[in-house]
């Protein structure tokens, strides 16, 4: 098992590096760039624009930019000398040896081209809202999907099963942005029961994540939590409705297959009550494939829902990504992609390990 995990971790390294190379190349190859935001600014002279691009190193060839971002190249040198860090050792070696502190290899994600804020702290600030939103959404949609799938399978072709099928397909077919807007329109604008957007009531509290906010949170935590809770409802409902479909269908199919297995008949022949037959003997087996699925959905906790976060102006990773794309904020985007792809690879590994725990037949 340990050997297997180590092998998988080693395999993950080239995968993540490959992903960064491809995304970096594609991103920089796309037309437009960070300087575009000055397009309508009459006071921005071509010379000033050029200076801006030079300062951010955006005039360098793409491989050089990538090398600097990665920490392979020393940004203060040109040509071959760039491979060496300030101390004369190769730049990619740990800071203690090479003296270099730039790039991913040295734990430096750079600065946001748009705001100048360090990318690491910008992402960290967006992570908490996403974990809160995605965590609640994932919890509810899995809970509801599993229950719905199991009962639909047990009562196959019943009214409940058919209603669940219709609900699942309607949810599946409904575009996220449309559902989100409809919910905002109904509960936020018309009925005025729930806030329209954001994570906190900005008139009452400092912006979420700032130091002032945490001071405010410390003095009236209940009010603060209540406020966040109210803002959570609509985006969570949107995510749940849209995502239940796939998982509940999956659980239903898996449960149906399990219910037809010989060991379920054996369990019945032993005189076990239905509750035990379904929820001990069948469900345990039916959830085996679902475990893998859940493993693949865990990265969502971090990557967030781009569309939902944007519609509800939820200050999370999804919104950060969209804003990054809009502003050609390469460093932010690369930072998000880097962390996301690492989490996806890790979640895959975690799902495989979890599988070995729940299914005694699997040995690595």
């Amino acid at each position: 098992m340990t050997k297997y995990v180590i092998r998988r971790l080693l395999q993950a390294i080239p995968v993540v590096i490959g992903i960064t190379i491809v995304t970096y190349a594609l991103m920089l190859a796309a037309p437009g760039g960070p300087a575009q935001k000055f397009a309508n600014n009459p006071r921005m002279t071509p010379a000033a624009k050029e200076k801006f691009l030079k300062a951010w190193g955006l005039r360098e060839p793409i491989p050089v930019q990538y090398g600097r971002w990665m920490g392979l190249l020393n940004p203060d040198e040109d040509g071959i000398a760039a491979f060496l860090g300030p101390s004369g050792w190769p730049n990619f070696l740990p800071t203690g040896i090479s003296g270099a502190d730039n790039g991913i290899l040295h734990g430096d994600f750079g600065y946001s081209i748009d705001s100048g804020e360090p990318v690491g702290s910008r992402i960290a600030r967006a992570a908490l809202p996403t974990v809160i939103l995605a965590g609640f959404a994932l919890f509810f949609w899995l809970l509801i999907a599993i229950l719905m799938g199991v009962f639909a399978a047990i009562k196959r072709y019943s009214f409940f099963d058919q209603a669940a099928t219709v609900f699942a397909y309607v949810g599946f077919a409904m575009p996220t942005f449309w559902l989100g807007l409809m919910l905002i329109f109904l509960f936020g604008v018309n009925l005025k029961w729930l806030p329209v957007s954001g994570m906190t009531e900005t008139r009452l509290s400092p912006p979420f994540g700032s130091d002032a906010y945490w001071t405010y949170f410390g003095t009236t935590p209940l009010t603060a939590l209540q406020d966040i809770g109210k803002h959570l409802i609509l985006p969570v409902v949107t995510l749940v409705v849209v995502n239940i479909a796939g998982d509940s269908r999956f659980v239903r199919a898996s449960m149906l297959e399990t219910l037809g297995q010989d060991y379920v008949r054996t369990a019945k022949a032993k005189g076990l009550p239905n509750r035990v037959v379904y929820f001990r003997h069948a469900l345990r087996n039916a959830l085996l494939p679902v475990v893998t699925n859940i493993g693949l959905e865990i990265p969502f906790l971090f990557t967030g829902a781009i569309v939902t976060e944007s519609i509800f102006s939820w200050p999370g990773i999804g919104k950060l990504t969209i804003d990054g794309i809009r502003n050609f904020d390469y460093t932010i985007l690369m930072g998000v992609l880097m962390i996301t792809s690492t989490i996806v690879v890790m979640a895959n590994l975690l799902a495989d390990i979890a599988y070995a725990f729940v299914d005694p037949r699997i040995k690595y």
């Binding site: 009562k155 060991y263 054996t266 022949a269 032993k270 005189g271 076990l272 345990r284 729940v358």
Partner: protein
């Protein structure tokens, strides 16, 4: 997966005390896309306490469905049970019983062993858990005591070092071992009736013999009744006192194992016996029953074996044969040869059967 059972109406009087299982005019149907298929068509038989009964038939003869109906393990719908069907077990009618009552019988007084030892055990629980769970439920004892009981039953079925085996998962065992586990599980609550549905079909020949030997010795030791379902006449010959032969959901012959295997009186049984390879028939050609089992949607109008029967004549195509008494005891055969109309043809048929058995020659078929 509903298990609602329409009560099959008012029931008759219970059978004698010494009869453990009595099945009366049992009919089981399946609703399929094209209509309703009668899988079990008016079957009656009884099994005394401690005795053994074999049900023989090809696949599709309704023998497994009979067993599943008795255990009430069929999903209703698509299955349905005909009005007037009765199954008496240990003095109680069990088809009309609430399912909760039936669950107290299942695995406790009546246990069942299935054909596929590889898939009949739950892959994610240990052997010990799976046996103990049943013991805990029926004998109402603590988990610890139930686990001890599980170890005892594994010992009973000849599994070495059972203390270690209870902690294993099914996939860590061979097919033969798993079938022993299934038997141990079935016996764990000392059932009065053990139903074994093709218990050895999925196993190697050598393992088959061991498992049969085990079943027989345990049945004799514990005194439980055995209902053995198989397609294998050889298994029947070794294991049971009485035999029922089924064809397309009906009983076609019924009697002691001696009567049915040595003096068969139904052409279908005769055909089955003729198609068994044996030492005496060495050199001769093996005769098989010609044709195939008819589709349940398209059964012959009168005698259902008529298209394949070498002795059929006009009457067989117009009048459905009854189960006729043959000889003096309880030997029955569903064939017109045993009525006054067919009596004249009987000696010839028996002669041809004997010839086929001795010489193994395929005989020209008559009656067509």
């Amino acid at each position: 997966m509903t298990e609602v059972l329409a009560a099959p109406g008012p029931v008759g009087a219970p059978p004698d005390r010494d009869v453990l299982l009595e099945v009366r005019s049992l009919r089981t149907y399946f609703k399929v896309l094209d209509g309703i298929v009668p899988a079990v068509d008016d079957i009656s038989f009884s099994l005394k306490r401690g005795q053994t009964l074999g049900i023989v038939g090809e696949s599709g003869s309704g023998k497994s469905v009979t067993a599943l109906t008795i255990m009430r393990l069929l999903d209703i719908p698509p299955a349905s049970i005909g009005d007037g069907s009765e199954v008496w077990f240990d003095g109680r009618e069990i088809l009309s019983m609430p399912l909760d009552e039936m669950r107290k019988i299942r695995g406790n007084d009546a246990a069942m062993i299935f054909q596929e030892p590889l898939t009949s055990l739950n892959p994610v629980f240990t052997i010990g858990d799976q046996i103990a769970e049943q013991v805990e439920l029926h004998l109402k004892i603590k988990k610890r005591a139930a686990m001890d009981r599980a170890i005892e039953s594994l010992q009973l079925v000849g599994i070495p070092s059972p203390e270690r085996r209870v902690k294993q998962y099914p996939h860590e065992m061979s097919g033969g071992m798993r079938q022993r586990v299934m038997i141990a599980m079935a016996l764990s609550c000392e059932p009065k009736l053990l139903i074994a549905d093709e218990p050895t079909t999925a196993l190697d020949v050598t393992i088959q013999a061991q498992i049969l030997e085990l079943l027989k010795s345990i049945q004799q030791r514990t005194g439980s009744a055995l209902l053995l379902i198989t397609h294998d006449l050889g298994v029947v010959a070794e294991m049971v006192d009485n035999v029922i032969v089924m064809y397309t959901g009906q009983i076609v012959e019924q009697g002691t194992v001696h009567e049915v295997l040595l003096e068969p009186r139904d052409p279908y049984t005769m055909g089955l016996l003729e198609s068994i390879p044996s030492v005496e028939k060495r050199g001769g050609r093996l005769s098989a029953i010609k044709g195939v089992v008819p589709s349940p949607f398209n059964l012959p109008p009168a005698c259902r074996f008529e298209p394949r029967c070498p002795y059929a004549w006009d009457r067989c195509r117009t009048v459905p044969p009854d189960l006729n008494r043959v000889g003096s005891g309880g030997h029955l055969a569903r064939c017109h040869l045993h009525t006054s109309e067919g009596a004249g043809r009987l000696p010839d048929a028996l002669q041809r059967h004997r010839t086929a058995l001795n010489l193994g020659r395929t005989l020209p078929t008559g009656g067509h």
